[in-house]
Symmetry: C2
Subunit: 329 residues, 2 copies
């Protein structure tokens, strides 16, 4: 691979001039530019980002941290991020942390090392302290999951309200025994969604029973299946289930299908996220839709502003309850 030196020699100019041509600087005569452009073509030259980045100390790369790409929830967000990034001449680096602190460290170092200009974290398991520390000297945006009272800007939805509305929908359908399939309450969204669930129950004077609240280890389907099995073994079975993610809800659906009970006739289900698969299940899944693409766009725009040194404010976006077959009993 040719370098700028060789191009300069071939064109019979200095490296400075080649650099000027590359960066579309004004002060190059047409004649010289043509010579340089020809040399570039002939040598099949491509400028090295490494040299450029070192010099400019910017990489035009954005890091996107996510716990796992297996949850389709992230797909649309990433599209939003990616399109916005590209529109601003940035590229994105998708980094799966698998909630592994060691991997996390690797990626944090990439930021510190100037291999990336900023980071959008969607990983709720991320080490908060380290992230906050990083955010003091580097652009960081949180997406979806965030830090209550923290200093790092975020974009998210009102999880408490969304959960409240979802559960209220179940109550209006006549359900009095409503279970919650929650993930680990170390996550803020899990605490918020539980809180919304409880607010709705309280408002309608329905009891909050611990045995109807199941906590899963993570958001894989299988956990939903397992949760549902447990709930169906109870003396007093719930007549409706609110799951904090579609993956869990779909697993729950599977668990019910295996039990001879029918959704929505015997049991109503609501999920959360509106992943594409939630419209493919049988029955289709009622769910809370987050504006995923918009979240991605917003997060990326915030990050890019932050990289430019501008101040950014956190954003709370709107959600929707998408009513489908699983609550049409």
């Amino acid at each position: 691979m040719a370098n700028i030196q060789q191009v300069a020699e071939k064109a019979g100019v200095s490296v400075a001039t080649v650099s000027r041509v590359l960066n579309h600087a004004a002060s190059v005569s047409t004649k010289t530019r043509l010579k340089v452009e020809n040399a570039i073509k002939e040598l099949n030259y491509e400028p090295s980002m490494l040299g450029r980045n070192l010099r400019n100390s910017e990489s035009r790369l954005l890091l996107v941290l996510l716990p796992s790409i297996s949850n389709p929830f992230y797909t649309e967000i990433i599209n939003g991020i990616q399109n916005t990034a590209i529109a601003n001449s940035y590229n994105i680096l998708l980094c799966e942390t698998d909630s592994n602190p060691q991997r996390e460290n690797i990626y944090f170092n990439m930021i510190k090392n100037k291999l990336a200009d900023g980071v959008i974290s969607m990983d709720p398991t991320v080490n908060r302290q380290k992230l906050t520390e990083l955010a003091e000297s580097h652009p960081v945006i949180l997406c979806s999951e965030y830090d209550e009272g923290g200093s790092v800007p975020f974009v998210t939805i009102d999880s408490e309200l969304a959960a409240y509305q979802a559960v209220k929908h179940l109550i209006r359908l006549g359900n009095k025994k409503i279970a919650l399939i929650n993930s680990d309450e170390k996550f803020l969204y899990a605490r918020q969604r539980r809180s919304g669930y409880e607010r709705a129950l309280k408002e309608f004077d329905l009891p909050i029973r611990e045995e109807w609240i199941y906590h899963t280890r993570d958001l894989e389907f299988q956990n939903g299946v397992q949760a549902m099995r447990m709930l169906l073994e109870l003396e007093e079975k719930p007549t409706a289930v609110f799951a904090v993610s579609d993956t869990l809800a779909i697993g729950a659906l599977k668990g019910i299908n295996g039990s001879g009970l029918h959704v929505p006739n015997d049991l109503a289900i609501i999920g959360f996220d509106n992943i594409s698969f939630s419209n493919m299940t049988n029955p289709t899944l009622t769910t809370v839709s987050q504006p995923m693409y918009k979240m991605g766009v917003t997060a990326a725009n915030m990050l890019i502003m932050s990289i430019k040194g501008e101040q950014v404010e956190s954003v709370v976006l709107d959600h929707d309850l998408i009513i489908r077959e699983s609550t049409m009993g």
Copy 2:
């Protein structure tokens, strides 16, 4: 952010010594090392990969090109790649091309620019000529989709055989009218799977009817739904369907569920890929399992060997037919 110079000053040594400590070179006295390590800690120093990479002309980053992260098929492959990469002190850069040549170009340039050391492409829509050209001077491995008769090493499965076996399974169950939901036959795997489908039919003297072969635009669920609707409108309806991807098969399942027909009693379905969803559908989906994790591991190992300058041979891995409810009529 401190640089190596400042660390050297603080420690009262030369930058070379600091570099030695950073790279765990043997020839540093314990006393000096301690001094340097202290200085590093005090200054909160992190070496810049940019400087290092420029010097070493390596980035220890591997590019992974995929058309879209929305197909869960890629998830496990990526896990395999990622784990292998990390075990060899590489990191991966996930790049969604959306089958967009412009994005592709960006990523190819990253390779040329030494921002990444090599690339694994899983994108069947990738510009073959450009990729082959790139492969002449840079490490490139194809994963899953490959170039027949091309020079770029690949790891894949025997799609023709897998399709043949899947269709044969349907025939053995007594089906004589078997439809194929295929993707665009510009893709090699699509041509191969069709070929396997036809071989099985011929072997049992079953007719190959064009109206039972449906081509989709891409692999999104919705295309499967659409395909199934078309097939169910035929005068002579098929009694079984082989779809070349689970996403299509799941869509087809959805299409059937909406029609009042029953799987597997009225219609059997086989998919391809064994994505995690395929076990969550109702009924669960019979499918061809590709060794996705192993494919990822193999591809990554091949790429790393190739980066080291070693010769690598293409690999064809084994597949399995996973029999589930959708063919248990």
